[in-house]
Amino acid sequence: MTELKLPSIDYAALAPILIMLGAALVGVLVEAFVPRRLRNPVQLLLALVAVLAALTMVILNADDRLITAGHAIAVDGPTLFLQGAILILAAMALLLIGERAVERGGAFVAHAAVTAESVDDRRQAAGAGGTTEVYPLTTFAIGGMLIFVAANDLLTMFISLEVFSLPLYLLCALARRRRLLSQEAALKYFMLGAYASAFFLFGVALVYGFTSGIPNRAAGVDFATVHAAVAESSSSQVLLFAGMALLAIGLLFKAAAAPFHVWTPDVYQGAPTPVTGFMAACTKVAAFGALLRVFHVAFSGAAWDFTPVLGAVAVLTMLIGAVLAVTQTDIKRLLAYSSIANAGYLLVGVLAPSKDGLSGTMFYLVAYGFSVIAAFAVVTLVRDADGEATHLSRWAGLGRRSPFFAAIFTFILLAFAGIPLTSGFTSKFAIFAPALDANQAWLVIAGVLTSMVLAFPYLRVVVMMWLSEPGDATPTVAVPGALTSAALVIGVLATLVLGVAPAPLLDLANGAAEFVR
């Protein structure tokens, strides 16, 4: 019997992950032992402190370039950059989730199973807080995302995918208003998510089979082995390509790339708006972090082969996102299609296999995350007696009624449209330029053309807000509480600063743009 050899674990490098998961567990205990009325502040504080602590650890680890936990986790530049991004964006999302001033009791239902207009429901309407389980759920999801971008083998990646997906499915179902829509969205997301996970798992199996053909090396699903297998495996190439395709599908689903985007509009619309913001920013970062790692580290040897296929997916994604955004009449669906189109632009960055491409993609993720959370923060504020007024026709004339928030939203939309001096312009520039260097001119042309199309629905909203006279149906903008204001200010300032002086963050991204294998 051989002696069991334990892998060495660098706890400091794993600290951000451990802190988040630990905080989630404490959060569950808080649910059990803290009196109901204190739970909300305690949970919010706990989650925020955990995020800040994890962020501090990420910053302290900034120079780590190592693989730990038995080849399961890689802590390198992109990991740390993306973990930092996820944590900052998650902190903003937590501020939105914790907001209780805009709507009495918050955006979340008191009991997921409570029926509308029942006693529990009325009690919440009368001021009792909504469920506080959202905090541990969110914290779990953040922890999963942190592992996801650090995963150094396909199985760890799969497990972390589930770790962050399952809480998200639940979170989607917790909207207080339009509850059935929300629960249905959650169910759809769950079923389709499970479906996509199955693809991913199949892909892992096929790739494992492929790696068994490397001479003098054990089969495995860690990225170094996969990388070696791409170069020298004697197994059938069909295993590699089918496996790569299935893996890609699983990840593209999370990234909301066409044709795996179908869930996005329904889920974005149905989920409570703070959760939508969280998904739009953090899930995007996590999904693209994983895509970058899989395609830059594991399959980089096959770049010649996957680029045309993923390129076609990117073009399709941009096209569908941009064109369908034009026809939308609901602001959340509009933002969902915009998020789909942005997934297409990000894919362009993934397909630029250079340091600049990697740093540009990471920059884009951060810039987009800030803007999109700010956008959803505004959406939570525009409301009438029935909750958020998301139908676009209701936004007509908002500029006359609440010029300040309409101006903020206009600025965010201009950033989405890629107007210069906003982060939208610099981030597109940071992605398209390396893609051109990599001779992917067709992707850049498609990107520029679709972003021109996409500018139209954004500006239509701008014109609608400012041009039309407010009518009786025009909702008011609620005065945001301190938490929403903070998130909004951070998002808008970041959008502006990254548009005017993006150099520091670009430097940071560039310094971090090197994977370890």
């Binding site: 059935l180 829509l181 079923m191 599908i249 082969d305 296929v309 096209l319 210069p420 850049v444 500018a455």
Partner: protein
Amino acid sequence: MDEILTYAAAEPTGAVTFAPASGLLGSVWLLVAIPLVSAAILLLLGRRADRWGHWLGVGAIGAAFVLGLTYFLQLRGLENKQVQLSLWQFITVGDLKVDFGLLFDPLAAVFVLLITGVGFLIHLYAVEYMAHDEGRRRFFGYFNLFVAAMLLLVLGNNYVMLYFGWEGVGLASYLLISFWYGRPSAATAGKKAFLMNRVGDAGLAIGIFVLFAQLGTTQYDEVFSGVGALSQTTVLVLGLLLLLGATGKSGQFPLQAWLPDAMEGPTPVSALIHAATMVTAGVYLIARSNPIFSANATLQLVVVSVGAVTLLMGCLIGAAKDDIKRVLAWSTVSQIGYMFLGVGLGGGAYALAIVHLLAHGFFKANMFLGAGSVMHGMNDQVDIRRFGNLAKYMKVTWLTFMMCWLAIIGIPPLSGYFSKEPIIATAFERGDWTSWLFGGAALLGAGLTAFYMTRLFVLTFHGPARWTEDIEHPHESPKLMTIPLILLAIGSVGAGFLLSTSVPDWLTATAGLGGEHPEHEPVLAHWLITALSLLVTVLGAGLAWMLFRNGTATEPQPAGVLVTAARRNLYTDAFNEAVFEKPGIFLTRALVFLDNRGVDGLVNGLAAAVGGGSGRLRRLQTGFVRSYATSILTGALLVVAAFLAVQAGWLA
């Protein structure tokens, strides 16, 4: 064709260097900052600024003009007249280096003076013109924003900065067209302007990326120094992309259709944005990029052809329109055609085009303001068939309009003669049969211009009154409106000679613009061309005078093929609709269909469903998971199949 290609094969461009800005010129950023700050104040203060806001707007532009003049005088004394000021490194990562910097050189200087000078007068005019509009403060806010963006466009020291200004002026123009009037036609016009400009912008954006990919920089000096090393094909592609951008912004063929529709905006907007400044951005782009355009003869031929086609097209359509602002708009399209012709001819004609641009800025702005003054006195009537005999009631408007009418048709010694005639003459100097082609077009254009401008002038100010019943006594506009008219008219009268003698010399200090003009014998003697152009002008004007001095019918008359075609914009709108709009709509529909339009369509009824209980909504939504799953599966099969196809070598 060989002959054409050898003709303009330009000499290799030498290295271009800019001097750093020092002393007073170090504050050149103030030019952009002042209008920008003023715009911010006007838009952010809200109603508190209603009472004095417009004067702040006027003052900001006036201050910018004075500053611009000081910089201009400063620049005259310098050795290297191209001064750049790097404010900060905008993007610096790896190969990516974009400077947030400004370049003040002779070309930028004349544009700054035009934008702030004419802009100031138009701002002044707008104080009175918009006096009864409750949104006047916001109007001035947007107007200042526009000026700031336009100044950024001409002052940037690289293509990315140019693109900033480019997007900024496009945005301001779109807002000013469609924000202002709630009319559906204004909204449509705004949309059209937006879409056509986006086509052009996409060309420019891709062009900038090509520059970046090929030369690794977008700084003007580095680009111009490096362009000689590029292959002819690259230069051609690059130039065509930039040209696409230029045609979009300047309303040139094939992207001309938006400009006349843009006249839905208030008249000062038409005067400033859609006549004097923004629409000339395309000319600026080509003049600024002259080392690129001069490096490929085919490219120059394309530019010349675009100019020639557009100038004829604008004249023909302008002659058939009855809306005073549309006639002026098509006239603008046509006059910018002359400028494109000029910049396309290359060499010394670059400077001629800029001279014409400056002269045009004066007289066309004045004509738009004059049209505004006429509308002001005639209850916003725009149909020239409903004017007539206004010379008696609007003396100042009439006299100033007359100066500009004489200027635009090119009667010496007014400015149009000095600016347009040399372009016509140069078009005859291409040295082969194309001299006849482009020279002839320019000459014909001169005759047509005389015809339609005379028609406009005579129908508006002379002949019997054909007013609608509700007008009894048209009145002259107030002082604040007529003073800018007078000043602009003086500019149109006097500036021509001054401009044509001083500006070309002045511009030689700008990179590339001083290039030697390859001398060719003109196919006609110069005096003969001058005589001919005067002759066709007089013929055109005389014909229009004969036809319209007794007024015209107030209803549309049956007309021949050409006039009908011209009334319908030579069927270009129909063409655009059939070739671009319909397939676009079809594509959207197809995509929507593929993307489960059913779900979207039903969810669009959300507002209704919220009232009716979400149970109904749930029923509507149930069951679509399977279609989503099918869609994902189909996609998955396609992706796997594509990967396997790649592996099998089918797609490689």
